[in-house]
Symmetry: C2
Subunit: 361 residues, 2 copies
């Protein structure tokens, strides 16, 4: 059976001032009317029921995650990490829970803060991936068909076509590539052999745990201790003790770069990891006025172009004569920056950290 594992551990300096240390991007309604984590759960409807959905997050964020999910129906299982230890540990932790309940279980690993449209195509591609992961006992990664030479994403270099599931192509993987320079990205696009590395995966719990046993034995030993304590009185203590000393390492470095059999499923849906306020402006461009202004909340724009103006309460934001600017107002902090420099918001946050303005972090 397919189990969804939604990784919701990130903190969100890039979406300051809406995102804060304890209020990361995934619990915000950044790209639409609902929090991103609620959208992520809803997108699974028809494929993974809520009883087989697990959210892994930091223990300090459990409340925000539950609030972000809303109150309709039973909640998914939430696994609270006592410490953030990157994606290898996060996925391993979910894997031992799933293997214990469903030894043949297939894990669909998703991020809580991606935008994917349309949901129907997402489900088709995901079903294909689950089929491959089940039948071939391999690691499956989702390769997003690139729409422009992005320098902000890593890439997957596909090799030979292995099979097709319906109209969905499944390839062998030649290798993973770091975020490229612009010229390299141009070459990737021109070749047609590269996909954006989505950070979403599909594999059987026993398969990924076997990989972790071979490639990261210390992590695997910790996971075995944790697994043995599940549903015992010492579960929380053991998790804390076993987790604390773990090395922070991503699943890409820990496993994907070493594994023998990896497949990439071509994902031809619209996908964004919503990396900055500029992505939000692009994602919400269907809400723009005739001059490209996207306005959310109580905002009045006069003679402006291509602005993104967000006010999240009854506060009025008036923008006059600006072009390509992002203005985000929250009850205690406001951001003003050019769209094309939205990636640098973290520098502003670093400045706040340096000045110890903790209440705004």
């Amino acid at each position: 059976m397919v189990h969804a594992v939604i990784m919701a551990g990130g903190s969100g300096t890039r979406f300051w001032p809406q995102s804060r240390t304890a209020r990361p991007k995934q619990v915000l309604s950044i790209a639409g009317p609902r929090p991103m984590i609620a959208e992520t759960v809803m997108r699974l409807e028809g494929l993974v029921p809520i009883e087989r959905t697990t959210i892994v997050t930091h223990e300090s964020q459990v409340g925000h995650v539950l609030a972000g999910l809303g109150v309709s129906g039973p909640p998914p299982r939430i696994i609270a990490e006592p410490f953030g230890r990157d994606t290898a540990a996060c996925i391993g932790l979910a894997a031992v829970h799933i293997r214990r309940e469903d030894p043949d279980g297939v894990m669909l690993i998703l991020a809580a803060d991606h935008v994917i449209r349309p949901a129907a195509r997402f489900l088709e591609v995901t079903r294909a991936a689950a089929e491959v992961a089940t039948e071939e006992a391999c690691l499956v990664t989702f390769g997003i068909k690139p729409t422009y030479p992005a320098t902000g994403y890593g890439y997957v270099h596909r090799a030979a076509l292995v099979r097709s599931v319906g109209d969905i192509a499944v390839y062998d993987v030649h290798g993973f590539r770091e975020k490229p320079a612009r010229e390299v990205a141009d070459e990737y696009i021109a070749s047609g052999e590269y996909y954006w590395n989505s950070g979403m995966f599909c594999w059987r719990a026993d398969v990924i745990l076997d990989c972790l046993r071979r490639f990261t034995p210390e992590l695997y030993a910790a996971l075995e201790r944790i697994e043995a304590a599940i549903a015992t009185p010492s579960e929380e203590t053991v998790l804390r003790e076993a987790y604390e000393p773990l090395e922070k390492i991503s699943i890409d470095y820990a496993v994907m770069e070493h594994a023998e059999t990896i497949r990439v499923v071509e994902a031809d849906y619209d996908w964004s990891d919503v990396g900055s306020w500029a992505s939000v402006a692009a994602l919400r461009s269907d809400e723009a006025d005739e001059r490209g202004n996207v306005v959310v909340g109580k905002c009045v724009v006069h003679d402006a172009d291509d602005t993104l103006v967000i006010s999240d309460d009854d506060h009025l934001v008036g923008v006059l004569g600006m072009e390509g600017v992002v203005v985000v107002h929250t009850p205690d902090a406001t951001l003003v920056c050019p769209r094309e420099r939205a990636e640098e918001v973290k520098k502003l946050v670093e400045k706040l950290q340096a000045r110890r303005m903790d209440k705004y972090l």
Copy 2:
């Protein structure tokens, strides 16, 4: 004796969102740490004591004016106008009060919302004006020595030098000029014969009332009714009844364009009527960082140039990568606009009016 009359009746759409219908520019600390009206009163120290200082304002603004003045010492007299009827009525109203108490009294007419530096030179020039007004029974206007070809001010064209008081030159007046086109302003500056019309005046109360009697007989009749009722139980009723039907007319149109004997005193101090947020940025340039950013309140600026960022409570405004922008945050509204378009803020306010967003006006 010299009496100061501070006109504090204006409303302030140009300084939205800090200024509002009931909270005009003069009661704001726009150009420095103290409200402009407090600065205006303090600037008179050594020339006009508080007992001879009168503030004329709209009745709805009395509370704001008193709050703006602060609590140190006795307050000046405040005359509350029941209706705004422009400067001729405002000055006439103050004149009947002053003539009644001091038949030879000299009125120094000031605006509550000008910035003048240094105060010492202001006092020297003002003393000279008062001397001329007393001795010659004429109307005296203050001509600001222009520092650039402003198109936002009216001009006074001087005629022959009449006298000097100390090092201060006093000229006959050739005429008043409306706000000029840029080329005309260039000619004014090149000729050396033009001053900015400051809207500040000096004259004896009996002299200006005689002018009003001759040039605006209806206004004068109303003022006589009002004068007769001063300190009687019907004072407020009479003021309201007499004031309501008055035509709105400025002292410039009502008197200055018709009067026979006008003198202009050359005022060579720094002066600004603080017409927009751009003026505020210029006036506060001594507070700027090395890249020209003026920051007031809790604001963090990163890699920005020539910005004016104001936050008037504990709200943090973060500005990243902007140039020449004005950001003004207040508890219920925020403005973002380019400095060079700050004059157009009233258009934004008009939009709020059109949308009936009254709580932000």
